[in-house]
Subunit: 423 residues, 2 copies
């Protein structure tokens, strides 16, 4: 199965189809409806025992227009993108900018110096194989809003949460509120440019024009497919990815790759002579990007069977090579490693997370595993217009599928993989 | 002087100032007026003997709005940029796309199959140290228009002339005419995306919305500074760069770097105890990008002294390391090489060109030299929004300035550098 995965172009065909035929698929939009239909058709045409969808109620936030320019002293455009749940500016709004190197520095600032201004937080994200630079900086997308409101700012700008130096601003969810606040990210070169202007010590005035909309009553779907277990069909090994994407790119790395990896892995298992002992459930989650809406809905809708979810994991970190397998189950670990070592995957440890959409399950006690990918360049593209198919290496995708098919099959087959207190 | 150049941050300060305080500076616009004022102030504050401007009459083409989207069968936006002198679409215009791998294939197509459609030429540019991949592909920007008009197409799209795979469309001049035609470039990932759709064999409909304007009677300026020669002030060594840039980026590599390199080199020479034998004239050309308007005006306005231009060269190929010195003058070559070898610059040959703005002078018999740069990644950024200051390596800039100061000084000092028939 591992070698079949390494020779198959199936994963590539899946992500090529999703990113080309659907493209960007912001949750709750018309494109998202097409994505759900695409996923249903894909899974129904494969060898699954059951394919179904489950509704997820969501707010539908949309981006309509976003523009920024320096009014004075050095008139020129700046490249921004509104963060998810940002408010609008009601036409072009002009104000002076006040810059801070970090949230900490901003929080210490006198409200007097901030009131009526556009706040700009210019904190850089560090590059790291496992994305360790992301959490401390991405947090800003949320924390900047209440602080900016409290000090009477007119809008908030952050340096993009990303590791590239291209003029792609990185979007991402911010704070949802009844009183939405204009919040946007500058691309790294634009953040540098604005900083150079501020460093000259003269007042810098920006004009922002952000138009977005939000509708409370939206809907998307989790798309689910199952291979029924041969002996213990009630026991579930859950693997998945998220189907939705931000609107700027075509959602290739985030998370078309995960959809392709987990779907192709499940398909390989479906083609074996017999079903594994337990059921394998493939979940393509709706609206991960704006707050794990699909994952939370799944955990709620399946509350009564979570105790029978023996293990779960999501592929949602791009298409880089898997380099480590993390599991708290010693039998699964040792058995899997006999096949994974040839894929240059090293033995890991107890995983801290099984992926964003697995969080709500993990909180309810579902054990998780992790196939750690090299995400060194993931945040070069993450949540930008540049997250497109050409950023995926087909061979690396195949290595991922090989690893996922091995681990998923073992998790569904090994007698030792069952819910125990120590996991 | 060479070592002083390698230790100085002057070149960086110049390009930092130009790209930050002026930013994008499309010829004939308000930003261009600020660029000319910036250049005058820069040169007047240095040790030149004379600083002046010369008017250049130009048409002023401007970009106002550009948007493309797939209407069917896979609705999604595509990233485009209008080419210089493109026409407008008069609101959103929808038509089917017909694709061709090359201009040759397009030219052979029946007009019947093209009429009423949007033509798409998807030819890739090859990466090359000296940019050899550029001319055969950039030519398309011009040749596609008459061919598309002749066959009754509604608009022309080309794959960007560039070597990157990021979602930055590359602009560049197209054909100017009384009957402008909507002409735009897709970024490489968008060209790939559109090609994948066409390859599915179903009709692909695009909506284009391009709004541009052109005003015939515009003006820009060549900004000129001179160090008067000690013995033969009437003999001129001309070095320069172009001051204008496209509107998408901040014109850092193209051609803020050249402005910094040649200005800093001339400044170093101006700080020597005595002026060299001949005059050194630094010319910052206006509107190179839309058709060498400044260079043509200079050649015309200085027709009577071109015979006294002993040698000329322009820096307009980014900020990569100089790796070869090209000159037809054996004395200049051998003398310069004693200083250039330590900069890892190898001895070259007779140059075919001294840079785009030197073309009109070369046609009038002015000899040229060339400090060949490594342009391997120049066309990753060329004419895109991503041509920003962060793409310049300060140390490489210093090496350029060191090389230019050495060669320029020698050209102005060596008795053997004079107009001879064999150059
Ligand atoms: Zn994701
Ligand atoms: Zn140029």
């Amino acid at each position: 199965m591992r070698d079949k995965a390494l020779a198959s172009s199936r994963g590539w065909a899946i992500v090529e189809s999703l990113t080309t035929e659907v493209g960007p698929r912001l949750a709750g939009t018309e494109a998202d409806i097409r994505a759900v239909a695409w996923a249903q058709e894909l899974l129904q045409s494969s060898n699954f025992d059951r394919v179904w969808t489950e509704p997820v109620s969501i707010p539908v936030w949309r981006r309509h227009h976003e523009q920024a320019r320096v009014v004075s002293p050095y008139p020129q455009p700046l490249r921004i993108t509104a963060l998810g749940y940002s408010g609008s500016t009601d036409g072009e709004m002009t104000a002076e900018v006040i810059g801070f190197p970090s949230m900490k520095a901003f929080k210490q600032a006198d409200a007097d110096t901030v009131a009526g201004k556009i706040v700009f937080i210019n904190r850089k994200m560090e590059r790291h194989k496992q994305g360790a630079g992301y959490p401390p900086v991405s947090r800003m997308r949320y924390t900047v809003v209440p602080a900016a409101k409290e000090k009477g700012a007119k809008a908030a700008l952050i340096r993009s949460v990303g590791t590239d130096s291209h003029r792609f601003p990185h979007t991402g969810a911010s704070v949802r509120s009844d009183n939405p606040f204009p919040t946007a990210a500058l691309s790294a070169p634009d953040a540098d440019q604005l900083q150079r202007m501020l460093d000259r010590g003269v007042p810098v005035r920006l004009a922002l024009d952000i138009r977005v909309s939000e509708r409370a009553e939206g809907i998307t779907h989790n798309v689910i497919a199952q291979l029924n277990g041969r002996e213990n069909p009630e026991e579930i090994v859950l693997i998945g990815a998220h189907l939705d994407s931000w609107d700027l790119g075509t959602g290739a790395l985030d998370d078309g790759a995960g959809v392709a990896i987990t779907t192709a892995a499940a398909e390989l298992i479906s083609q074996l002579e017999q079903r594994p002992r337990r059921s394998i459930r493939l979940v393509l989650f709706g609206n991960e990007e704006q707050g794990l809406w699909g994952a939370k809905a799944y955990a709620k809708q399946h509350a009564d069977e979570l105790a029978r979810h023996v293990i779960a994991s999501e592929s949602d970190f791009g298409a880089g090579l898997v380099w480590r397998f993390d599991s708290a189950n010693p039998d699964l670990m040792s058995t899997a490693m006999t096949a994974l070592a040839a894929l240059n995957i090293e033995q890991g440890k107890k995983p801290s997370s099984g992926g964003p959409d697995i969080g709500p399950l993990q909180q309810q006690g579902v054990p998780v595993f992790r196939l750690q990918q090299d995400g060194s360049d993931y945040f070069d593209y993450h949540h930008t217009a540049d997250d497109t198919l050409d950023k995926i290496d087909p061979e690396k995708l195949q290595q991922n599928i090989a690893a996922w098919s091995v681990v998923t099959w073992l998790a569904a087959e090994l007698p030792s993989v069952k819910r125990t207190a120590n996991e």
